[in-house]
Every structure is written in C-alpha cells, then in structure tokens.
C-alpha cells in the first residue's frame, strides 16, 4: 500500500464513536477466552484433573458412612454428594483466585499497562475477566458433572425444575464470591503478589464448607467458621436440589439464596471500590508496568 492511500484513510473524519461498556466488557472477555483456548494442553490437563479427582474421591470416599449423609439430609449416595462438591469448587477458584492470577500475569507481561493507556474503564476490565471466568468454570463444572453421571453413574435428580434451581444457586454462588476476587486482585496490584493469601482462602473455604463431607462432622468451632462462609450455603442448597429434589421454594434454599445475595450486594461494590483504590496506588508508585 502506498503512503498516500494510508494517509487518506486517516484524513477521513469519523462521525461516530463506539461507545458503551458492553463493547469493552465483551472485548476483554473475548480476548481472555481466546488466550485460554490457546493453551490447549493445559486445558486438557485441567479437565482431566477434575475428572480424575472425582474418581479418586469415589474410591476413597465410599468409606463415609451413608447414615451420616442421610442424617444431614443429603440422601445416601456419597459419590453424588462428593461429585457436586468437587465440581462446584471450580467456581470458588475462578471467582476468588482467577482475576488475581490473570492480573499478575498481565502485570508481568506489560499488557495491563497497555490496557491502561486506552479508554478502557477499569471496572469493565474486572467484569470482562469475571465473565470469562464464569464461562470457563461453567464448562469445567458441566464436564465434571457429566463425567460423574455417565462414567461413575452418580445418581442426581435432574428435572427441569432442579436444573433451573441449580443454575440460580450457582449464579448466586458466583456473585457472592466475585467481590472477594476483586479484593484479591486489588491486593495483587498493591503487593505485586498475593496469590498465597488467595490460595489459603480458597483452600480453607474448600475444606471448611464441606466439599467432601457434611458440615456436621466438623468440630463445633470449625463449624461456626464454616457457617460464615457463603460457599457453605450455596453448596448446601445445590446438594439439596440435586440430591433430594428440593424445590426453589424450600425455606432452606430461600434462606441460602438470600444469604449469598447479601454477600454479593455487600462485597461487589466493596471489591470494585477497593480495586479502584489499589489501581490508583499502583499508578502513584509506578508499578502498573512490568518492572
């Protein structure tokens, strides 16, 4: 192409500009998914990981007595019980740890600074990343559940109603944790690391909230801690819906949904506010770059 042709293009006056948060969010989301899909081997390993861990728990897990499960109201199949727990923890990781992880990589590589030199609003960065996390974890969750059902013949009560209830619970599970993820990402901006803290939080939640055993088997002090974690409630309701076909109008499920909703309403604005502060701090310190 000749220089004058290129210049002619830049001389044209633009009448309209492409506005809107949706465009920004979807382009961040789109880029992130493409990057993720470019790690083909890693994606396969990740998927195998969840399937294998379900199988492992299946063989060791049969030892948890079914009376204890039944007493807690989760039916009698430990396999199905553990399957839901293991499959759901992918949401915990994507909500709490993923944005922080992605941000660290972007800080190291210098792409975060490049984004910061555009009109991108910083909360749209957070929303786009969250959405990509949501899509990815939905994919892992579904594949883990399907392999549990078809490979290990876990028995779940899958009716249109329980599926809709589950989706609602999952969305609230995500919303309740995403604010913590924003705060963790802000921590990364300030400390330039922070993954250990995030990891500890996620592991603790995973352990306490009953991924592998009903809460009732925990010592009372730990049970009290567990009862402050939103994941505990989301997981409980998800199990009630998928194991014993409780409807969305069930008082326990309604209680749990409201509990998660309160967390979401409190933590998401707090997370966005904190991330904004952290972003300004990094811009003061000059640490948004890759040094």
């Amino acid at each position: 192409m000749r220089t004058d042709e290129l210049l002619a293009l830049f001389r044209e006056k633009e009448r309209t500009a492409l506005h809107g948060n949706i465009n920004q969010i979807t382009s961040v989301l789109n880029a992130r998914l493409k990057i993720f899909l470019s790690y083909k081997i890693w994606m396969l390993v990740e998927l195998l990981n969840s399937v294998v861990s379900i199988a492992v728990y299946y063989f060791f897990g049969v030892m948890v007595e079914s009376e204890k499960l039944e007493a807690a109201g989760y039916g009698t199949s430990y396999l199905s019980f553990a399957l839901i727990g293991i499959a759901s923890q992918t949401f915990l990781w994507t909500c709490v740890a993923r944005i922080a992880f992605v941000l660290r990589v972007e800080l190291q590589e210098g792409t975060f600074e490049a984004l910061n030199a555009t009109r991108l609003k910083i909360h749209n960065f957070l929303f786009g990343q969250s959405l990509s996390g949501f899509i990815l974890s939905m994919w892992f969750f579904t594949s883990a559940m399907l392999s549990g059902i078809f490979v290990l013949s876990a028995s779940l009560t899958l009716t249109p109603e329980t599926i809709i209830t589950s989706i609602i619970i999952i969305i609230l599970m995500i919303l309740a944790h995403i604010g913590i993820g924003f705060i963790a990402a802000g921590g990364v901006l300030i400390l330039k690391r922070g993954d250990p803290i995030v990891a500890v939080f996620a592991v603790l939640t995973q352990f306490l909230s009953g991924v592998l055993f009903p809460l009732e088997v925990l010592p009372p002090e730990l049970e009290a801690v567990a009862k402050a974690l939103p994941f505990t409630y989301a997981l409980r309701s998800l199990r009630f819906a998928l194991l014993t076909e409780r409807p969305i109008s069930d008082p326990t499920i309604i209680h749990d949904i409201i509990f998660c909703g309160i967390f979401a309403i409190a933590l998401i604005p707090l997370g966005i506010w904190f991330f904004g502060k952290a972003h300004n701090y990094a811009k003061t310190r000059g640490t948004t770059g890759h040094y």
């Binding site: 220089t3 293009l9 830049f10 500009a17 880029a31 600074e113 490049a114 770059g289």
Partner: protein, 337 residues
C-alpha cells in the same frame, strides 16, 4: 489555538530503597524526585524531541501524560483535557508507544489481528472504520504473512510494527513515542523515523519523541528539550544543538609504538590552530591523543601530514563528536554563565 500539551509544575517522586530496609518507604526523606516541576508547552503539530541520558526521567514524564502515572504535584492538559480530571479523554487523544517494552505490551497468545481489534474496541473506534484501518495498516507495514499468527512467534521488528499499528488505530492527534526504534535494525529504524516525519508533516500529528541519541533527535525534531535529573536543561532547536556539538568536536588520533609522549604533546601543541592536547587512554601498543582545534576540517589534513613528516605511525585520525554527557556539561555551565 490551544496547545497540544501543556504541563504545569509536573512533579513525580519515587520512594528510594534505603540501606538496611527491605522495602522502600514513602517518608519524605527517602523520596527521589524524578521529574522536577516541569512546565512546558507543546503547540499543535510540533515534533518535539525529548533528549536525555538513561534515568533522566523521560519515561516518567511521558507516562504521566498518558495517565499511566499519577503526578505528585502539578498537572497537565492534553489536547485541552486535564490528565487528573478527564484521564479517559486524555488517553483517547494519545497514541503511546513504549519501545522499551519490546513488544511485551501486546498479548503474545493472541494474533496480531486480534490484538489490533481488541485495542480498536477499547479505544472506541467504530467497527467498520477499525476494520478498514487494520487492513490498511497490515498492508502498509507488510504484515500480511504473519498477522494471523500468535504474536509470540513474531520477530522484534514485526512486534514493533504491530505496536505501531496499534498506536495509530484510533487516529490520535498526539503521539508519544518513547524510544520507539529500540531493537530495530538500522535500516528499519530509518524507515520508521521517516514514517514519523510523514505523520507529523502530512497529518499534522503532534509528536513527543524521546531518545538518548543526539543525531536521531537532531534529524527528526524541530524542537529539542534536553532533560537530565528531572529537569529540562535546555529548550532548543536542531541548529543550536548541532552548533553546540560542533563547538565541542575533537580530533582523535591513534599512534602506534609511541615512546616519548611529552615530545608528542609538545609537537602537537606547536602546530597552528591547535588549542589543547589531551593524552587519552593508552592501549599498548596504541596511544590515543585527543586534540581540540579551532576548525576540525582544516586541521585534520595538517595534523595528518605533520605527524607523518615527524615519523609518527598514525593508525587512525578522525573527528570525534562529543557524547551526550559532554554536551550536557557544556549546556549546564552555559546556563550558569
């Protein structure tokens, strides 16, 4: 007409690492002023060179203009928008290219095309216009063969060209080019610089171009701000800069197997037009002498023949340009006079 860039007392301090303490603290004492109350106006359409040695504060100053860094004091208007009050508008009016990142600021896992599309959207370029511009730039920068490959497979030159396309995607009136030709081979660097000149002349883009190479800035810029230790030492133009450089030219002579150095100095000093003779480093068997003269081009042949007559084995004799640091010293002393 409003200025493209107008800074007012722009200041940036960074915490300094203190001995014995692991983390830098933000106490007043431990702060190092990297950009020190800089006030400068860049009119629309100007090609400004920001020249300074490593650590002068060029990148820090330019990053504040792009709103990547918050100033500690002062502010700036970019195309009329305040960097503190309307940072998003400021960013939309600037194309920023930071050569030092060496293409790291692109997403390496995405193709060049996906990178360009992403940044076009983030810079709010309407879809059809973005598409046209991307195609045009792919063709202009000869990226057709690689544009759909992942950026991590690009050569440095290809990355820089892709970054350059990204810098222009939203057709910003102001370009901030922070050592944009770093890592490019000589021929490509020349081409790229030519392109900047075209952007400035033909499209009237205001350009701030940082560099620590005098000749580069001299060639390109109509105005040159020389920066060191956070302040602008001189605000000058290429002619004055080259006059200053000429003033400090020296003749550098290499002589083989020298025995009596004092005799050599005496001999040189007595030649007409010689102002000063300095014995420089000695790398046996070569002795290096630098000679300050009134007029280099006149003195060069005289020195060469006189040294030959006296039987000195001259291996090389040439005019030496002053280094940036030497030019700075001259400038600072001039300022004090």
């Amino acid at each position: 007409m409003k200025a493209a860039i107008l800074t007012q007392g722009l200041t940036k301090r960074f915490p300094q690492k203190v001995k014995g303490k692991k983390e830098a603290t933000r106490g007043k004492k431990n702060m190092k002023t990297v950009v020190d109350r800089i006030t400068i106006e860049v009119p629309n359409g100007q090609f400004l060179g920001l020249l300074g040695p490593n650590g002068a504060g060029k990148t820090t100053l330019t990053k504040m203009l792009v709103t990547l860094l918050l100033p500690d004091e002062g502010t700036a208007l970019v195309n009329g928008y305040d960097i503190l009050k309307e940072p998003a508008k400021v960013r939309g009016n600037i194309g920023h290219l930071h050569g030092e990142t060496g293409g790291r600021s692109l997403y390496w896992r995405l193709s060049g095309r996906d990178n360009l599309k992403l940044f076009a959207t983030l810079q709010e370029v309407p879809k059809e216009i973005a598409k046209k511009r991307i195609e045009a730039m792919i063709s202009y920068f000869e990226l057709e063969k690689i544009i759909d490959r992942e950026v991590r497979k690009y050569s440095t030159g290809e990355k820089v060209r892709t970054m350059l396309a990204r810098t222009l995607i939203h057709n910003p009136p102001i370009l901030i080019l922070d050592e944009p030709t770093i890592g490019l081979d000589a021929a490509t660097a020349v081409e790229t610089r030519k392109f900047f000149t075209i952007l400035n002349r033909e499209l009237g883009k205001t350009i701030v171009f940082t560099s620590h190479v005098m000749s580069e800035v001299e060639e390109l810029c109509e105005r040159i701000a020389i920066m060191d230790k956070g302040i602008i030492l001189a605000d000058t133009d290429p002619h004055s800069l080259s006059a200053l450089v000429k003033e400090q030219q020296k003749i550098l002579i290499h002589i083989l197997n020298m025995v009596d150095k004092k005799a050599l100095i005496k001999y040189l000093e007595d030649i007409e037009g010689v102002k000063e003779v300095v014995l420089a480093v000695e790398r046996s068997p070569i002795t290096e002498v630098s000679v300050v003269v009134e007029d280099e081009l006149k003195a060069l042949p005289i020195l060469a023949s006189k040294l030959g007559e006296a039987g000195y084995k001259v291996t090389s004799i040439e005019v030496e340009e002053p280094t940036l640091e030497e030019a700075f010293i001259k400038l600072t002393t001039k300022k004090r006079e």
